[in-house]
Amino acid sequence: MEATLDSLALGFSVAFRPDVLLYAFIGCLVGTLVGMLPGIGPLAGISILLPITFGLDATKAIVMLAGIYYGSQYGGSTTSILMRIPGEAASVMTCIDGYAMAQKGRAGAALCIAAVGSFVAGTFGVIVLTVVAPPLAGFALRFGPPEYTALLVLGLVFLAYMSSTSLARTLLMASVGLLLGCIGIDVMTGHFRYSFDIKELGDGIGIVPVAVGLFGLGEILSTPSSTTRVRIAPPRLAELMPSREEWRQSAAPIARGSVLGFLVGIVPGSAHIISSFLSYALEKRISKTPEEFGKGAVAGVAGPESANNAASTGAFVPMLALGLPTGPVTAVLMAALLIHGVPPGPMLVSEHPQVFWGFIASMYVGNLMLLALNLPLVGLFVSVLRIPYAYLYPLIIMFCIIGVYEVNHSVVDVWIMLIMGVVGYGLRKFDFDPAPLVLGLVIAPTFELSLRQSLLMSSGDWTIFFNRPIAATLLAICGALLAASAISFLTRRDWRGKLAEAETGEER
């Protein structure tokens, strides 16, 4: 524990440097805007702004990009409460009771509870991250290629199990991502794979053009400007402070949302989205006045808002400690670290302590910044929403092109982004979630390398994955999850269905 505190002190010495503080502030500010603006999620925001970090060192880059991620969770609540528009998918549940509170003239209280809940949950998440990540990284040093292969398979199966779409759809998308990840020169044999004589494809397909195309451009193509109308219910910010009764009603949901969100955040999947749905369902289930949900229940704002913030912090645990992305956002953050020559994983703590602890300490500071930003400046942020969409989306397309081009100064990347934008548009039409595709693309090189190394180590004996205790345990969990999915399918009782029922029950 003493060593952890010493390391944290080192982290704070990095986080309090004026330049690092500045980039944390920029990240939080941009994240809040990204969270508020419908059509730009944290993934698109981070991907588009990734090239801006190329001139920075790894610490400042990751501090800024992570600030965008958890800042977007704060910002998403503003549009949900004031306009009933979820700026970000994780804020969907906040729309229900947050907007109802606003209609009752309690917009200020709802915003304050959402911001304080987000702050408490975010800080709780960082404290647990501080305690859990280093020992987990130490444990992961025991991992060899078979364990990594099993861990990545578990990541994909978990993602499919937790996904809001069907198991087959999610695994299909992950397969497409893995296939895209195979493009380029095979590092073990030197074969060119699917590069069709385009030399730029020799290094493979980048994560940035794929992510920006699928999530940035794809979203724009699916959103005709004529359907985007912004109506703002004027917030009564004079009543910003919640009443004593509202504080009392929000305390327990914030605590429960923090714990639940962090636990859900650790497992792969769109954790910050799922956690807010789960928290809402939990709060309604245990409430003594469930009939209040949908009509402005304080717990319906406090729980989900806390849960999505804790989940976004929890997602950093496997990323930092194991080098395992749990979703597309952490995948892009991992890519950002790799671009800066800092591979995330078990060696990060020992080889780059300044980056690791500086990043963690900056999250404590970032959560404070967000609390200070989100309450007094809410009126200013809301005015950004008045930019007509007809002017906003051309701006986003410009940033997409600049962002993607600047990674490698390659027009081929811009073309890949455009193709992925069309693919993203098509996937939305056919009800596919593109997130597993990005995850598959990110893990493909590590997965292939560890799979082939495992087989080489065992001279082709595939039982190596079952003879080693850690790998066998991870694969057993995979088997259990697949069996649980099969049972859900056969009995037609699935947690997604229950959540959907809970959600539609509220909206009726």
Binding site: P51, I52, G55, A168, R169, L171, L172, S175, V176, L178, L179, C182, D186, M188, T189, H191, R193, Y194, L217, I220, L221, S222, T223, P224, S225, S226, T227, A390, Y391, Y393, P394, L395, I397, M398, I401, I402, Y405, E406, H409, V411, V414, W415, L418, G421, V422, Y425, K429, F430, D431, A444, F447, E448, L451, R452, L455, L456, S459, G460, D461, W462
Partner: protein, 148 residues
Amino acid sequence: MNLRLDHVAGGVFIVAGALIFAASDDLPFGTLASPGAGMLPKLVMGLMMAFGLVLLLRAGASPRFAAVAWDDLPHALRVIGLAAAAAALYTTLGFLVTVSLLLFGLTFAVERKPVLHAAGFSIGVTGLAYLLFNTLLKSPLPRGVLGF
């Protein structure tokens, strides 16, 4: 038979898998003891086709294909067409000219904004972006044949 969404989706992935499989002739699968460059792609392709088949078999539960709303398609085509033209001209005409034209095209031609508004917006935003990336962030943007 009513054509369902997953009939089309499943079929597309199966056909795509088969086509990529055919294009993978030169990639050796290898053996378990010595995996080749084609092992993972072919395994993944097999999985992709299998999941496509699952969609196809369970397509009855998916919405009818005719029920999919395509009313946003014309807007999407105009946007992607202009973006593709910008990508094609980006390194030839350079950032300033290409992006100004792209923004003008999107606001004036696609969104039907008044010509002066569209022109002012396009030139102003392009100039600010150039200042931000090229000058402040020292991230060089492409220059065109005209030298800027």
